[in-house]
């Protein structure tokens, strides 16, 4: 589904990703862990097409297409979804209206009929229940005045409504209490299908207790320095990242 080869990216003239290789197949869940500032969010943002990042080398192929050649909105319409580490407020636009606009943009792209507000509200209510966001949150402006946890659940609500093929979750678990964490994990698990895939960026093994990854990767200094199965997450939790530094690994 997604093949990243030798991906290099820089921001404001500084290279952050120094050649990332990663392959994700349909049906898989991958987790990326790594120290602060190692480039995890950069990778996520580059995949979503953030204009602040310049790709300086490598390729990304998504479902046979050159992902890097698509505008951010085209990527979204093709089924790529990024749950932001820091979700953005949109003043004056209600969650319900925003989500309907987004869903309709995607449906239109896929040749499906657009949903009117009445049809949409049915879809929304069902999905909102799954992430335990109350109805009143639907009529509030997008992320405006939401608590940290509400913002994260709102990201998952968007994911549930838009039903992406490739979902990238950037630290969606950070700042969630244990109940919210379970809610988010359940929502993600419910969306797992043989024809979609999930890439989870996290610092904590605890999320992976609820969402079992097929692969765990360590991103350090802009490179994937180690990959393994779900047991790697436990090892990282116990040992930290120091043993994976190039000089330590060489000893």
């Amino acid at each position: 589904m997604l093949e990243i080869k030798g991906l290099r990216a820089s921001v404001q003239g500084t290279e952050i990703l120094h050649g990332v290789d990663l392959t994700i197949r349909a049906g898989e869940v991958h987790a990326i862990m790594g120290p602060n500032g190692s480039g995890k969010s950069t990778l996520a943002q580059v995949l979503a097409g953030h204009p602040a990042y310049t790709v300086t080398g490598g390729t990304v192929t998504y479902e046979g297409k050159d992902l890097l050649g698509l505008a951010p909105e085209e990527r979204a319409r093709e089924g790529v979804f990024l749950a932001f580490q820091y979700p953005v407020e949109i003043k004056g636009i209600t969650n319900a209206y925003f989500l309907r606009s987004a869903l309709n943009a995607i449906r239109k792209h896929r040749g499906l009929e657009e949903l009117d507000p009445i049809d949409f509200i049915g879809v929304l209510e069902e999905k909102a229940k799954a992430v335990e966001l109350g109805d009143e949150m639907m009529n509030r402006p997008v992320n405006d005045g939401f608590s940290g946890g509400e913002k994260k659940r709102n990201e998952i609500l968007q994911m549930a409504v838009l039903e992406p093929r490739l979902a990238i979750l950037d630290e969606t678990d950070s700042g969630l209490d244990i109940d919210a964490l379970k809610t988010v994990a359940n929502a993600v698990n419910r969306l797992r299908r043989p024809d979609n895939a999930t890439l989870i960026v996290t610092h904590y093994q605890r999320l992976l207790n609820y969402i079992t990854p097929d692969f765990v990767h360590v991103l350090a200094d802009g490179r994937i320095v180690k990959s393994g199965g779900k047991e790697l997450a436990h090892e990282l939790e116990a040992r930290g990242y120091d043993w994976l530094r190039p000089e330590a690994a060489a000893v």
Binding site: R77, V88, L162
Partner: protein, 445 residues
């Protein structure tokens, strides 16, 4: 004589003619009020940009035009021409003024509930002189503003809304000031007095409009008095001709536990200056100033607000959003006074400006004067182009670049409209905001 002095003389002469024209028959207290107004205008003269309060707004184009009171009230629009200016969401009852003069034929006041008075000030002076006298011109607005003083000097007519104690008015009342295209540039000294007695509740929709392209001056003063526990909502829709000038004062004074909401929405006029003063003169009172200005071309909007916390435990919320395109300019000055003893004041102010073009400009200035120690006052202002982070967020959800821009822009207006309590009116204003910001029908909302 300098231009401002010559212009002032023009109005002083017009005032002498006005008094000679039958206006002299007024009761003594009103004659004294007018005399005070013209005297104050004479002292102040037209403001210049040397004054701090007028630093960013030049009234030179107003000074340069000899605006006159229309002969015999000017032409009267046909009822169908009025349709474009009326807001169906603002209720069935309405007072219509043409060039500042009451137009009974265009108004509709039959069937007002008991306890509600809505009539022209001229009529009220006959029917309820003591009620009018108790409040008219008591706000002190004349002292601060030459334009307000001039309005008082020419006080002859206007709108009077009085709601008796405990009366809840179920539907909003609409007051429309409309200007017609006249051969000579005319001035209308629009005047409104709204009194909500103890525990009364009322919503009033003031709108100002004029024949497209017409050059005229609206010089408006609105005084709002909310008694103990009363609730008054004032919607103020300014859709003047783009050739017109609009100078206005809205002054509210509140008693204990009362609520006043003022929603000024400015679409029109070449130059619009609006001074809003809210005096929280009762413990536990609360006020909301919730404004929006949408500028394009060379339009100039200036909002100067004063929130005066005179008593403890009161709260004020102030939100002004501006969306400025073309070479338009927005000025916002938000003064908050917390008087000694006004403890537990809770005050919040924001002014956000979206600049849609390189030449658009906004100036924003908070002014906090706090003389009590146990208070919470926050303020914040932003100005700049559309937020790239917001655009990327929307695009990452599948919205096209144009749609994402439209949504963020519309959001600036929608945020303000979202605080309005009358759904029909809100929907109608939403249509106007969309038409203005998204061009034509648009699809947002």
């Amino acid at each position: 004589m300098t231009a401002p002095a010559a212009a002032a003389e023009h109005y002083l002469a017009a005032h002498r003619a006005f008094l000679g024209n039958g206006a002299g028959a007024a009761p003594a207290w009103l004659a004294a009020l007018r005399a005070r107004g013209i005297a104050r205008f004479g002292e102040l003269g037209f403001p210049t940009t040397h004054l701090e309060e007028w630093r960013f707004t030049s009234v030179a184009p107003i000074v340069a035009t000899p605006f006159a009171l229309p002969h015999g009230g000017g032409t009267s629009p046909a009822e169908r021409d009025l349709e474009a200016f009326l807001l169906p969401g603002a209720g069935r009852h309405r007072l219509v003024f043409v060039n500042g003069r009451f137009a009974p034929r265009l108004s509709a006041t039959a069937g007002l509930p008991a306890g509600v008075t809505a009539m022209s000030l001229a009529e009220a002076l006959v029917r309820d002189p003591e009620g009018v006298r108790a409040h008219l011109g008591t706000s002190g607005a004349d002292a601060a503003s030459a334009f307000a003083a001039l309005n008082t000097a020419f006080l002859a007519d206007g709108a009077y809304v009085h709601v008796a104690a405990g009366t809840v008015v179920p539907e909003p009342l609409q007051i429309l000031f409309v200007a017609t295209a006249e051969p000579e540039p005319v001035v209308a000294h629009a005047r409104t007095l709204i009194v909500a007695e103890r525990l009364a509740q009322v919503a009033v929709v003031e709108s100002y409009a004029g024949a497209e392209g017409a050059r005229y001056l609206t010089n408006a003063v609105t005084e709002v008095v909310a008694g103990e526990g009363a609730r008054a909502e004032v919607y103020r829709i300014q859709r003047e001709s783009l050739g017109a000038f609009h100078v206005a004062t809205t002054h509210s004074r509140q008693g204990r536990d009362s609520v006043v909401h003022v929603h000024p929405v400015a679409f029109g006029a070449a130059l619009a200056r609006h001074d809003l003063t809210a005096v929280l003169d009762g413990a536990g009172s609360s006020c909301l100033l919730n404004g929006l200005y949408l500028g394009d071309g060379a339009q100039h909007f200036d909002h100067h607000t004063v929130i005066d916390h005179a008593q403890p435990h009161a709260e004020s919320h102030e939100y002004f959003n501006g969306v400025l395109d073309g070479r338009s300019r927005g000025v916002f000055n938000g003064r908050i006074i917390v008087r000694p003893g006004a403890q537990r004041t809770d005050s919040k102010q924001t002014n956000n400006n979206l600049l849609l073009s390189e030449e658009a400009r906004a100036d924003s200035q908070p002014q906090l004067e706090i003389y009590a120690d146990d208070v919470k006052c926050t303020h914040g202002a932003t100005l700049g182009p559309i937020d790239e982070k917001a655009l990327f967020y929307l695009k990452s959800r599948g919205l096209g670049a144009a749609e994402a821009r439209a949504l963020v822009t519309y959001g600036f207006g929608a945020e303000i409209l979202g605080r309005m309590a009358i759904p029909e009116l809100r929907a109608q204003l939403d249509g106007l905001v969309r038409a203005r910001l998204l061009g034509g029908g648009g699809s947002a909302g």
